[in-house]
């Protein structure tokens, strides 16, 4: 079955969506990611969607759900690489994804993630 690879980067997880994200794949990602957070005791998740040209309302909601689930497992989520056209479409659909933190690219996303993990975690949490 098709899966999106999840990479471990220090004590956070990195997910880069390189393929067309259809509904089933998104749900599988949701499963895999929650399992991985628990298994590696990750404190942060970075999801890169710079390769996605289209994000519909289902995918948008699924991403928001992933962030909420991660928070319940005490991990912060940052969404990076949204393309301008995708951002406009989501906003027009009324999906402003309020619960997710965002950054422009992976660089900034990693920096933000560090800040978020430090804020909420034990003092001196670093890799």
């Amino acid at each position: 079955m098709e899966r999106i690879p999840i990479l471990k980067l220090g004590n956070s997880l990195l997910v880069t969506v390189q393929v067309e994200l259809h509904d089933q794949l998104a749900l599988t990602l949701q499963d895999d990611l929650t399992q991985a957070i628990a298994k590696h005791r990750a404190r942060g998740v970075l999801i890169d969607i710079s390769a996605l040209d289209v994000v519909d309302s289902f995918i948008g909601r699924t991403l928001a759900h992933i962030a909420s689930m991660a928070r319940v497992l005490d991990a912060a989520t940052v969404l990076v690489g949204m393309q301008p056209a995708v951002a406009i479409t989501l906003v027009e659909l009324g999906l402003t994804l309020p619960g997710i933190r965002t950054a422009l690219n992976v660089d900034k996303g990693v920096a933000l993630l560090q800040v978020l993990m430090n804020e909420s975690g034990e003092p001196g949490s670093n890799d």
Partner: protein, 286 residues
């Protein structure tokens, strides 16, 4: 179905050369513009072409339907004549007169070709009149369309001109909005802003609405949409340039700005942006 204009076509073709000569003479005589050889030659060519194409179209059995393809060539000719004349400064009436002036020649032709008691005369006169009316009106339509196209182009340019995105400092963008913010403009503003965020890797965007005359619930909605889109791309927005009247309107209307930072002036917004980036400005004590 037999050609309804067969008789007319025959008569005109028979006397084509004479008609053309008399028509040209009439046009040149009534011309209000200073004559010059180049324009006269152009007129000669256009008139000759028009007459030939007219006869050609009339010979076809489909000539009673003005939308049929037999009239395409003559329509193309009229289009180019109309466009050329607009450039030369002719009014649409003068351009239409090019076609209408042929009526006089054709009327006298019909009257002289047929006996005065022939019952063919009236139908032919009506045919001439209605055909040339349609062709003359077509030139006015073409003129109208080209005008509308120019207006459309100018509107587009105006929209693009009035939404610049300027970089104030590393990672800080400013978006001074001038003029009303309707949904079409908001699209362009959003696109420009998001493109700017991507190319400058900005993390803060200051939207200045000093130049926006009125802010009602719709405008506020557009602003909030833009702020949300920027946030999805990892940049936070500060709205500045809020005049006292605008502040009153916003409260009276019960508009919820949803936690977006707002400042009265661009300067204050810039100071806030620097603070958020952990930057400061100090004086050189030397």
């Amino acid at each position: 179905m037999s050609n309804p204009h067969a008789a007319l076509a025959a008569i005109i073709e028979q006397h084509q050369a004479t008609i053309l000569r008399d028509w040209l003479q009439q046009q040149l005589a009534t011309s209000t513009v200073r004559r010059d050889p180049a324009r006269d030659n152009a007129l000669r060519d256009q008139s000759a072409q028009f007459l030939s194409l007219f006869i050609q179209a009339l010979k076809s059995p489909h000539s009673d339907n003005f939308n049929d393809s037999v009239w395409d060539e003559i329509r193309e000719l009229l289009k180019s004549v109309s466009r050329a004349r607009v450039q030369q400064g002719f009014t649409p009436t003068e351009t239409a007169t090019f076609v209408f002036s042929l009526k006089e020649q054709l009327f006298s032709l019909v009257l002289s070709s047929l006996d005065s008691d022939s019952d063919q005369r009236t139908p032919l006169l009506i045919q001439v009149s209605s055909l040339l009316d349609q062709l003359g009106l077509y030139t006015t339509e073409v003129y109208q369309q080209s005008r509308e196209q120019i207006i459309g182009n100018q509107q587009q340019e105006l929209l693009e001109l009035s939404t610049p995105v300027v970089s104030l400092y590393d990672g800080i963008l400013a978006l001074p909005l001038i003029g009303t913010l309707d949904s079409e403009r908001t699209q362009i503003v959003m696109e420009n802003l998001l493109q700017g965020i991507v190319s400058t890797e900005a993390s803060i965007a200051i939207i200045d609405i000093t130049g926006v005359p009125t802010v009602d619930t719709l405008v506020a909605q557009h602003l909030l949409k833009t702020v949300a889109a920027a946030r999805l791309m990892g940049a936070e927005c500060i709205i500045s340039g809020i005049r006292p009247q605008i502040a009153q309107t916003i409260v009276h209307l019960g508009v919820d700005l949803g936690g977006v930072a707002t400042k009265a002036t661009l300067a204050d917004a810039f100071k806030l942006a620097l603070k958020r980036r952990n930057l400061g400005i100090y004086a050189n004590t030397k």
